[in-house]
Amino acid sequence: MLTIDALCKIYPNGTQALEQISLNVDAGEIVALVGGSGCGKTTLLRMISGLEAPTRGHAALDGEEIRAPHPAVGMVFQEARLLPWLTVAENISFGLDDLPKAEQDARVDEALLRVGLAGYGKRWPRELSGGQAQRVSIVRALVTQPKALLLDEPFSALDALTRTKLQDHLLALWETHRPTLVLVTHDVEEAVALADRAIVLQPKPGRIFADIPIDLPRPRDRLSPEFAEAKRLVLKALDGSINQPNPHQPGKVYSPAAGGSF
C-alpha cells in the first residue's frame, strides 16, 4: 500500500506547492490525480517517486518511507525521455542491468509484443512516433515489475485516437502484475476510463479537493450513461476546485455523493 502522510512542499523560491496531502492507495488500485494547471500534481508525483524530497510529511510504500528513488516504484514522465543513444530494446532494458542477458532479452521481447511494437527493438528513438516512444517509455518502467507505477500525464501530447489506444494498452499491461498506478492527467475522460478513484486537487496551495470513487466494471464502456455520469461528477468537482474562492478548510473534503454544495 502506498501511504502519503501530511505531505507539504515549499520550493526554495517560496512557492508553496503542496499543503497537507494525505492519501492512501491500496495495492493494485488505480488512482487518477486531476486538477488545474499548477495545482501541484507533478510535484506530488515527484515526492512519491523519491526524486525530490518533501518539506514536511512523507510518502511510504508498504510502510517503508520513500527518501530516494525506490526499486519498487517506477516513473513515467510526461515526455518519453528515452535515451537517444540507446536502441528501443536497450532503452527498455535500461533498468534490468542486474538480470542475466537472456532474461533481459526475454522481457524486452515480451514487452515489445505487448505494446504492438514487435520488431522495433533495433530502432533508434528518433525513428519512433510520439505515441510509440511513449509506449516504450511505459514498458521501460514496467519491465522491472514495480509495485507502484507513477505516470505524469503520459498521453497528454497525443491525439485523441492514439490516447484511447494507449489507455487500453496501459490497462492490459496493468492486468498482468496489477501494480498500483498513480496517474496524473488533465483529461477527465482518461481518469474515468482508467481509475478506481479520481483525486481532484485544488491549487494555491495544492491540496486534495475531492476524492471520487469510480465504481464501474471493467472493461468500461465509454458510451454508457454510467460512464457519462462519472465524468460529470469529476468534471463538476474539477470546476469547483478551480472556481472556489473559499479560504481553505483543512480536513474537509468535498464529497459529490453528499450532494457537494460547490
Binding site: A68, K122, R126, L158, T162
Partner: protein, 277 residues
C-alpha cells in the same frame, strides 16, 4: 506523430551501403568543382601568357615541386616531424583539457576555483608564451610541444566543460529514477550524452594544434612543414611555400577526417537536421 499505433511493420532503416557510397562520392565531386575550375583557369591563363607567374606559380609547377619533394623523401621527413609535434602537443593539451573540463563541468566548486584563472590565461594570446617557453624549455622540441598543447587545451577544456554542464536534467533524472550509482550515471548517461559535443571540442582542438605547429616551426626548426614555409620564403621559392601549404591542408583535413570516421559508429543515433544530407 499521430499515426502512432497504425503502422506496425518495421521498415529497414539503413540505406544500402552502395547507395550511401554513391551519395558520398557525388558530394565529394561537387566539392571539388570550385577549386579545380579555378586551378585550370589559372593554369590556362599562365600557358597563354596572360599572367606573370613569378609570385604565384601555376598549379603544374606547384605539383612538380611537391612531387620532387616526395621523391627525394624530404616531404616524408617534414610531414613526419610536423605530425609528431602536433600529435604530442594535441595529446597533452587534449588530455589536460578533458580532465579539467570534466572537473569544472561536474563540480560547481571546482568551477568556482579553477575557471576564473583558466579564463584569465585564455585571454593571453598564446603566442605571447613563446619567449617564456623557449627560456624554460629550450628551442628544441619541448617548447614547441608546449605551445601546441596550450593551443589545443583551451577549446577542449571549454567544450568539455560546457558539454557536461549542459547535459539535459531530464535525461539525468531518468538515470536517477532507475537508481544508477554515481559511477553508472557517468558511464551510462553523462558520457554518451556529451559525446557529440566532446567530438566537436576535440576537432577544434586539433585545428588549433595545426595552427600552433606552424607558429612553432616558423620560429625556428630544421625540419617540419613550417620549416619548408620559411625556407621557401628565404630562398624566394613560392612554389615550395605553396607546396607546404597544400601539405598542411591535406594533413589537417586527414586528421579531422580520422576523428570523424573513428567516432561515427558511436553517433549513429543522432537526430540532426543534416541527417542523410
Amino acid at each position: 506523430m499521430s499515426e502512432a499505433t497504425l503502422d506496425t511493420s518495421p521498415t529497414t532503416n539503413a540505406q544500402p551501403q552502395a547507395a550511401r557510397f554513391a551519395v558520398f562520392g557525388t558530394s565529394f565531386v561537387i566539392g571539388l568543382v570550385l577549386p579545380v575550375t579555378a586551378a585550370l583557369l589559372y593554369e590556362g591563363a599562365f600557358r597563354l601568357g596572360l599572367v606573370q607567374a613569378r609570385l604565384l606559380p601555376p598549379p603544374s609547377r606547384i605539383f612538380t615541386t611537391l612531387w620532387t619533394l616526395a621523391k627525394t623523401g624530404e616531404l616524408t621527413t617534414h610531414v613526419l616531424a610536423t605530425t609528431v609535434r602536433v600529435g604530442m602537443g594535441f595529446g597533452l593539451g587534449a588530455l589536460v583539457g578533458m580532465f579539467l573540463g570534466a572537473l569544472t563541468g561536474a563540480s560547481r566548486n571546482a568551477r568556482r576555483l579553477l575557471d576564473p584563472t583558466l579564463q584569465g590565461l585564455r585571454a593571453i594570446p598564446s603566442l605571447a608564451w613563446v619567449p617564456l617557453f623557449i627560456l624554460w624549455l629550450g628551442i628544441f622540441e619541448s617548447s614547441k610541444i608546449a605551445l601546441i598543447a596550450v593551443g589545443v587545451f583551451f577549446p577542449v577544456y571549454l567544450g568539455v566543460m560546457a558539454a557536461i554542464a549542459n547535459v539535459d536534467r531530464k535525461i539525468v533524472e531518468v538515470g536517477r529514477a532507475f537508481r544508477l550509482s554515481r559511477l553508472a550515471l557517468v558511464r551510462r548517461v553523462l558520457l554518451p550524452a556529451i559525446l557529440p559535443d566532446f567530438i566537436i571540442a576535440i576537432r577544434s582542438g586539433l585545428g588549433m594544434g595545426f595552427m600552433f605547429v606552424v607558429a612553432a616551426e616558423i620560429m625556428g626548426a630544421s625540419e617540419g612543414l613550417g620549416y619548408l614555409l620559411v625556407d621557401g620564403q628565404q630562398l624566394g621559392k613560392p612554389d615550395q611555400i605553396l607546396a607546404a601549404i597544400i601539405a598542411f591542408a591535406v594533413l589537417g583535413k586527414f586528421g579531422d577526417w580520422l576523428i570523424v570516421v573513428l567516432t561515427k559508429p558511436f553517433l549513429t543515433w543522432q537526430d540532426t537536421h543534416q541527417r542523410g544530407a
